[in-house]
């Protein structure tokens, strides 16, 4: 038991962090020489430190799952660190490239602009690498597939994101430059967050028993949202999230009050309809490609 405590403290110190709430953190015993040597020799200390820094940079919702994927990818990438290693470049399948690019794209939240842009760059390179039957560069078809996959994994309903994809997709054999790729990725991730927030907003409006919201109230919220979005001339996608959050509780409350007071019979508005309309407001602002 004591040796376990000693190991834990040494690992924490090695990684540069200590968890001050835990018992045993005040002990200063060191790991046994051979154990420390072993860990350093096989590169575990460095591996964990890097992994921890990645976790802190990405701040994922599920850090343990993130770590599992992180080590899995590490195993795939280099033969010296585990796994079979990457098969010779030209045999790497489309799906693996997409998976790898997706993993890079998810490492940092889009609001952490520098980290996100770096990761976009790496993902672009990964997708553009030449293969045996593949010329270097990113083609429209792969780009479209990536966009669809991101939206699917982000649990955004297809009908909701289809209009966006139509706007920013490129033709199948067109070459997609980095700038277009970067802007497309950013728009996509911002949209997913927008959909998630709209969903959360809908949950506040819906009647738990009926699983629908009052149409008047739903429409009033959408109108207020549209007003907030139109007020911002800026075309940067992330600004729309800010505009949405600037929807003061006062203006929302007023709109909802007015809607309920009007003496019209109420009809239900489903979650799908609400999301479609909210997303349409966002997509209307997106500049089409080409």
């Amino acid at each position: 038991m004591a040796t376990v405590e000693k190991r834990r403290l040494a690992v924490s110190q090695a990684a540069g962090f200590t968890d001050s709430g835990r018992p045993g953190a005040s002990r200063t015993a060191a790991m046994t020489e051979s154990e420390e040597d072993f860990l350093r020799q096989v590169g575990v200390t460095e591996m964990l430190r890097t992994a921890l820094l990645k976790v802190l940079e990405a701040r994922p919702e599920e850090p343990i799952a993130f770590l599992a994927h992180y080590f899995e990818n590490m195993g795939l990438r280099s033969p010296t660190n585990g796994g079979a290693g990457e098969p010779p470049g030209q045999l790497l399948l489309q799906q693996q490239r997409l998976g790898r690019a997706l993993w890079h794209l998810r490492l940092a939240h889009h609001s952490q602009r520098t980290a996100f842009n770096n990761n976009v760059g790496v993902a672009y390179e990964c997708l553009s690498a030449s293969g045996r039957k593949k010329k270097p560069g990113l083609d429209g078809r792969t780009y479209s597939e990536l966009l669809k996959r991101i939206c699917r994994d982000g649990e955004a309903p297809e009908e909701v994101v289809a209009p966006l994809l139509r706007k920013i997709q490129c033709r199948d054999h067109e070459a997609v430059p980095l700038a277009v790729f970067r802007s497309g990725m950013l728009t996509c991730f911002v949209l997913l967050e927008f959909v998630a927030r709209a969903g959360a907003l809908y949950r506040l409006l819906e009647d738990p028993g009926l699983a629908t919201a009052d149409r008047r109230v739903g429409q009033a919220v959408l109108d207020t949202l549209e007003g907030a979005l139109q007020a911002s001339d800026d075309t940067a996608p992330a600004r729309y999230l800010e505009a949405g959050s600037r929807l003061g509780p006062d203006s929302l409350a007023l709109a909802m009050d007015r809607a309920l007071v009007a003496r019209r019979p109420s009809a239900p508005m489903t979650r799908e309809e609400f999301l479609e309309k909210a997303t349409a407001l966002f997509i209307a602002k997106v500049k089409p490609v080409g």
Partner: protein, 281 residues
């Protein structure tokens, strides 16, 4: 769901929320314990398997008690594993004693403390006849409350004791190992006219407790629900109510509803593949 708040937390708080360091340190310990089996290039794969097993909840099998109780996720995973491994006990309608359930627990965790099993049994049995028989579902749900909310129950017991003896419930209570659950039934001589404590006052104290403490508590709204149905209640009456509350069980997320306890199609499928036809029952 996306929660942008996590992006603003300081590093150590973010990590502490999901016990990331606990799992990383345990991963290294496990690695060191198994280092003969892992060659140079198996490290990343080892960590992959370790963290995957944490996600799936299988990481607690056959581990020491101190690890099993280290995080809420570990406790929930252990409860779930216990249910899945031994639900056939319930299926056959067998009734077991506390000691027999303890043996089952020790199969999954060799150093599981008897004291904890005893406390769980007391919730079901409501008296000191500790060799009475219990059904699987009764024991399981009582055990869940006792094990998952151990620290919370210690504090609740101390609060209950104070309320019984008429002390001011708002003084800070530090439960010692001798307080609480041993002494909570008054002898005939010192019993007040009414049994137990007043429910609304009890709830106020518990609400304060949930605010003050960092360890897991049942959702205060549901505790309120439990306490709003009665005027007065005893300590074990309260625990029984907690263990039978569907909402609390769902909020915890480890076990299915009582009605679905025997229903585990994934496990059934896996067993069918393992057992030869004539041995299946």
């Amino acid at each position: 769901m996306l929660s942008p708040e996590r992006l603003a937390l300081p590093d150590y708080e973010y990590l502490a929320q999901r016990h990331v360091l606990t799992y990383m340190e345990d991963a290294v310990c496990q690695l060191l314990e198994n280092k003969e089996d892992i060659s140079q290039y198996g490290i990343a794969r080892f960590f992959t398997e370790y963290f995957n097993s944490v996600c799936q909840g299988t990481h607690i099998l056959f581990r020491e008690f101190s690890f099993i109780q280290a995080t809420p996720h570990n406790r929930a995973s252990f409860l779930r594993a216990f249910w899945r491994c031994f639900r056939t006990v319930g299926k056959n309608g067998d009734l077991l004693t506390m000691r027999e359930y303890h043996c089952l627990l020790q199969l999954l965790c060799p150093d599981f403390p008897l004291e904890l099993t005893q406390k769980a049994a007391r919730i079901v049995l409501m008296d000191d006849a500790m060799d009475c028989l219990m059904s699987f579902s009764d024991f399981l749900f009582a055990f869940q409350i006792q094990f998952y909310y151990s620290e919370f129950l210690e504090s609740v017991a101390a609060i209950y004791q104070d309320l019984l003896s008429g002390k001011n419930p708002n003084t800070v209570i530090v439960p010692t190992s001798s307080s609480g659950q041993h002494r909570q039934r008054p002898t005939l001589g010192e019993a007040s006219v009414l049994e137990g404590v007043e429910a609304s006052l009890f709830y106020q104290c518990l609400e304060n407790l949930c605010d003050r403490h960092k360890y897991s508590c049942p959702p205060p709204a549901l505790v309120k629900e439990v306490l709003s149905n009665v005027q007065r209640l005893t300590f074990y009456g309260f625990l029984v109510a907690l263990s039978k509350h569907h909402g609390i069980n769902q909020a915890l997320g480890a076990l299915p509803d009582k009605g679905d306890l025997m229903h585990d199609p994934a496990m059934d499928e896996a067993l069918e593949r393992l057992l030869p036809k004539e041995k299946r029952h």
